[in-house]
Symmetry: D3
Subunit: 235 residues, 6 copies
C-alpha cells in the first residue's frame, strides 16, 4: 500500500471545465490520472431505435467512447480501437444510461467521449465519474437550446475502483497499486447508494464473500464523496 | 418467471464429448443453449510473453475466443467480431486463466474457442463452464503427448447467470427471463466456492446490497451442481 | 489409395437434424468430415435485386457462407475470411441457386451457412450436399409459415470430389488422399444426372480427356447415392 | 450468337510488349478485352516456403493478382478486392504454377499482375493467356541477370472461355454472349492439349455430358491457336 | 543534373487516346513516366452534396483517385491505399476542381482515375496534366449524351515539378534527379499563368525567397508548353 | 476580415506545459484553436531504417500523427483516420524532420502526436509550431536520460496560415476566415527565415505572383513572433 494514503482514502478528485467546441466539457483529475470528458448532442438515433417514417421517436440514446491518447502512458499508446477499450466503453455507456431517463429526450442521441490524458490507474472509473458531469452539462445546454424539453437527468452516478493489495482492501487504486492487486473491482453507484454495475475480478487469486463485502463498503463510502464533487461540477 | 422452473433451480446441464479435430472438445447444453467448446495447444507464446533468445520460457498462456454461429439465433447472426463478443471473450479468458497455474505449462499457449450453436440465454456462462472442461481435457491430452510436463490444472471454475425478474431473484436466466430482467449478474466461482469474477448490471434499474447478497447466494448454490457436472465430464 | 475403401467407393454419408435456432439445420458426416449446415430466411433482398419503391419483387435470392471452425483442423484454424473460403462459398452459392426456382420465392433471401466442425477432406462438397438439405428443410418451414407460397425446390443437388491418386482415379478424397492427389475435381450434379458445376485442377500434373471422363463417371455414380441420402434427410 | 463470328471462331488475339518498369510486360487484346500483364521477381519466398535458417531453399513460387481498373467497365469499377477477384486470382495462380517447374527457381518468387484495361468478357482467361507470356519473359530476364540458373518454363498454358448461348455451343464469349449464356466454362490447357483446369458452371441451367464434350472440343481447338500466339510473343 | 537535358528543359510530353471502357481515356507520357487517366460520369452526388428530397441539385462534383500499378516500379509496388497516395489524390482532386465550374454540371459527379503505368518521377504532376485532358474529353462526351447541358470547362490546368539539384534549379525532375533534390516543388498553373497550387518542400535543406522565385519562373515557363499539348489532346 | 484583428496581425499564441505521461508535453493556444502536442521516444527504428544485425544504426527518425478529438468541432468528429488527417500528418512529419539533425540521434525514433482539443482554423500550423516545442523538450529529456548523446536540434520551425479573404491578404486564418478564403496557404519557416514547406491552394480561385509574394511576406513576419514564443516555451 502506498505510504501516502490510508487504504480507505481515495485520491483527491477535481472536475473542472475544459474549453473545447463541445459545451460542458470537463477534465476529471484523480491523483495523476486525468481524463477529458466531452459530450455531443445529435438530433438523430441509431438505426435500431429510429422510428418508422411518420412516427415520432419514443426514446433517446446515450453512448460512450473511450480512448487513451498516445501521450497518456510512459510507453507511447498506439492509436486505434482494441479489445480493452471496447470492453471499457461498453461499461461506461451502460452506466451513464442508468443516470438518465432516455424517454425524456426523444429523438436525441448523446455521445460521451472519454479521452485519457494521463493514465495512472482508475481511468475507466474516472471516465464514468467525469463523463456523467459532461453528460449533465451537455443536457443542460441542449435544454437551453430547446433540443430537449424536459429534464432526463435522474441523478449522479459515480464509479470507483477497489481492490485487495498485499492482503489489504483499499480504494481508488493508482497504477502502482493496481499492478500489484490480487483482486480488482470497479463499482458504479448512484446518488441513493444503489449499485448500477459491480465488476470484480480475481486477477491473481480468487476472493471470498467477506472480502467482497469489505470492498463494497469501501466503494459505497468513496462514492458519496465523488457524488458531492459531481454535484458542484454540474452547477 | 417461467412456470417450468423454480427461481432457484438452474436448467439441466449436460457436458458431452463432441468429435472435432481438437482432442477434448465438448458441447455444453443448458436448456436450449448449446455451446461447442474446443481447445488447441500451440507450442508458442504471444509476443509479450516470449522469452529473449536463449532464455527458457517462464510461463504459458491461456486465451479464449467467443463467437455466435449464424444459425444460433432466430434472426441470422452476422459473422465477424463485434463489441459484445470482444467483451465476452475477455471475460472467458480471465476466468479460465484462474483455473490453471500457467507457470506449470511453460512455452505453451492454449486457445479455448467457444462457438455458440444455439443461443437461449447464458451463453457466456455456459462458455466458461464448458470451456473449462475442454481446457482440462486438452491439457490432459497435451500431457499424454509430453507437451506439458506437470499438471497445471488447479480445479474447476464454473459460471452462472443470476438476475432479478419481476422482482424475484432467480438463477440461470434463459432468453425470455434475461430480456425481462431488471438486474443481470454473471458470477464465476471456483471449486472452493470463492469468486473469480462478479459482473452485475442494473439493466433497467439499480440494485441494493440485500439484492446483491441474494443473487450471490443463488450463484454459489448453482455453481456446486455445475462443478459436479464438470468433474464427471473431465474424467 | 487408402486400404479401407475401393477407389470407386465413397465414404458413408449421414445427414442428420442438429438442433440450432434455425429450423431445418443438419450435420452432414462423411467419414471424419463433418459440416453443420443451417439456413435462415430473411424477408429482404440484396440491394441490387430490391425492386423500386411501389413495385413488387420479381425474384428471391439464395446465397451461402462457408467457414472452418477453429477446432476443425489439427492445427487451430484462425477465424476470419480468407481467399480459399471466399472461393468456396461462391461455389456453394452458385450450385445451391441451381436447385431452386428463385422466381417462386419473390422478396425472400435465404442464407445457407456451412460451418466445418471437422475437416478431413471434401468439406466444400459436403457443404453443398448438406447445404441443399438445410435449404430444402428451411424452405418447407418458411412455406408452413406462409413466407413462401409455392414450392421453389427443383430437386436435390449433390457434390462429390474425385481425383487421381498414385495413378488411380478415385472418389470422395479424404485429407490423406487429397494431399497426395495429382488431379483434384469437384463435381456438382442434379437429380437427373446433369452437371451444375465441374471444377477440375491438375494440382501437380495435367490431365487427359480419358482421365476426365473416368473421373466424371465416378462422380455421377457417387452422386446417385448422395441424392438418395438427401431425399431421406429432407423428409 | 453474335453475327460477326462463327460459334467456333475465337476473337482475334494479340499479345504485345507494353512498356512498364517490369521487364517482359505485355498487353493481351481479344476483341475489346484488354489486360495488362506484368511480372516481378522477388528474391524471397512466402513464409510457409521459407527454409529454416542455414538451409538452402528447395523451391520457388509463382502467384498472381487480378484487378479491374476503374475505367475498364462502362460503369466505373470501384477499387479494392472483392470476392470475384479473389476467386479469379486464385485460378490464375494455380494455372500459371502448372507452366513452370518451381524446383528450378529455388528461393525466387514471381508475382504476375493482371490488370484489366477494358473488360468485354473473358478477362480471366485473357489474364492466364497473357500472364503466361509475361511470366516467361520475366523468367528469361531473370535468367539473364543470373537470378534463376536453369530454365523452369515447361511450356505455354492458354485458357479460353466456352459456353452455351441460345442452345449453341460457342467459344470465347464476349460480354454480350456471356451475359446470355446458359452454361459458362473456362478451360486452361497446356501445349500438349492436356487440361490444367476445367471450370464449368450452369449459370441458368444444368448441362449434359454431350454438351460438356462439345465445349471441351471447342476449347481444345481454340487453345492451339492461342498457344501459337503465345510462342511468338515470348520470343 | 542529367546530361541529356538542360535544367530549364522539360521532358517531351505526349498525351494520347488510350482505349478503355471510359470514353476520353488518355495516356500521358513524359520521358519514361506514363500514367493512364480515365474519367467516369455518375449521375449521383456524394452524400454531403446531395439535395434534400424534392429539391434540384445546385452543383456537381469532381474527385480523383491515384494509384501505382504493381509493375510501375522496379521493385513491385504492393496494391492498396497508402498515405502517399492519399495525399496525392487529394492534390489532384483540388486542382482539377479548379478547372471546371461545377455549378454548370448540377447533379453530376466525375471521378478521374490516374493509374501509373511506369513511374520515373513526376507522376503526380503528370496525373494532373493528363487528368485534365481525360476530364475535358469525358465532359464533352457527357454533353453529347445530354447528361451535362452547358460547358463547365474553364480552361486547362497543368502541373510540373521543379527542384534544386546539386545547387541548380531545374524543371521536370525524373526519378534520378528527384532522389538527389534538396528542394522539391510541384506547381499547378492555369491557362492564364495563375497559380492553383504551389507545394514546395525542403527535402534535405531549407530554401530561400530567391530560390523559390527561380523555381516558380521555371514552372510558369514549362506550364505554357504543357497547356499547348493539352489543348491539342482535348480536341 | 474579422473586425477584431488587423489583416497582418496573428492571433495571440501561448505554448504551455500540459501534464501527461510524456515529458515535455505542451498545449498550444492560438485564439480558440488549441492542440495538445506530446512526444515519445522509442529506442527502435522503423523497419526500412533498421541496420543489418551487427551494424550500428546510422540515423534516427522523427514522425508525427495528427488527430482531431471528437469534442474539437461543434458537430462531433468521428474517430479514426481519414484522408485529410493523413495529408496533414505527413506535412507535420516532413517539417519537424527539418528541425533536427537525425544523424545525431542514431537508433532513436520520436513520435510527435498532435491531438486537436478545439478546432478553430489553423490546426495543422499550430500542430507544427507546438509540435516543435514538444519535440525539443522531449529531446532534452532524452539527453538527460542518456538516450541521445549530442544535440540534434537545429533550431525552431514555425508554421502559419495565410490567405486571401474578400480580396485582402491576411494572416493566421481562424475558421470563419478560412471558410471564406479564396486562397489558402500554409508556410513552414525556420529560425533563419528560410522556407521548409510552402503549400498554397486556390480554394475558389487562382492566385497571381504578386498575391503569392504578399502572402509570403505576411508569413515571414508572423513566423518571427512564433519563433520567439517557441524559444521561451522550450526553455
Amino acid at each position: 500500500m502506498s505510504s501516502k494514503r490510508r487504504p480507505d482514502q481515495p485520491r483527491p478528485t477535481r472536475i473542472e471545465p475544459f474549453p473545447t467546441a463541445s459545451p460542458g466539457s470537463v477534465v476529471i483529475t484523480q491523483g495523476k490520472t486525468r481524463v477529458l470528458c466531452t459530450a455531443n448532442v445529435d438530433a438523430d438515433l441509431p438505426g435500431w431505435l429510429r422510428p418508422r417514417p411518420g412516427e415520432p421517436p419514443k426514446s433517446g440514446w446515450v453512448t460512450a467512447e473511450y480512448s487513451m491518447l498516445p501521450g497518456s502512458t510512459p510507453q507511447r499508446k498506439k492509436r486505434g480501437p482494441d479489445g480493452r477499450a471496447t470492453e471499457i466503453q461498453r461499461l461506461i455507456g451502460r452506466v451513464l444510461r442508468a443516470s438518465v431517463d432516455m424517454d425524456k429526450m426523444p429523438g436525441v442521441s448523446i455521445t460521451v467521449d472519454c479521452d485519457v490524458l494521463h493514465a495512472d490507474g482508475g481511468t475507466r472509473t474516472a471516465s464514468i465519474t467525469g463523463g456523467f458531469v459532461a453528460l449533465a452539462r451537455c443536457i443542460r445546454h441542449a435544454r437551453g437550446k430547446g433540443l430537449i424539453k424536459g429534464d432526463p437527468v435522474i441523478g449522479p452516478v459515480a464509479a470507483i475502483s477497489v481492490g485487495v493489495v498485499d492482503g489489504v482492501s483499499c480504494v481508488d487504486l493508482d497504477y502502482d497499486l493496481d499492478s500489484r492487486a490480487d483482486v480488482d473491482m470497479n463499482v458504479a453507484i448512484d446518488h441513493r447508494g444503489r449499485f448500477i454495475e459491480v465488476q470484480g475480478t480475481g486477477e491473481r487469486t480468487t476472493f471470498t464473500r467477506p472480502q467482497l463485502d469489505r470492498l463494497l463498503d469501501l466503494a459505497l463510502s468513496a462514492s458519496k464523496k465523488l457524488i458531492a464533487v459531481q454535484r458542484r461540477a454540474v452547477r
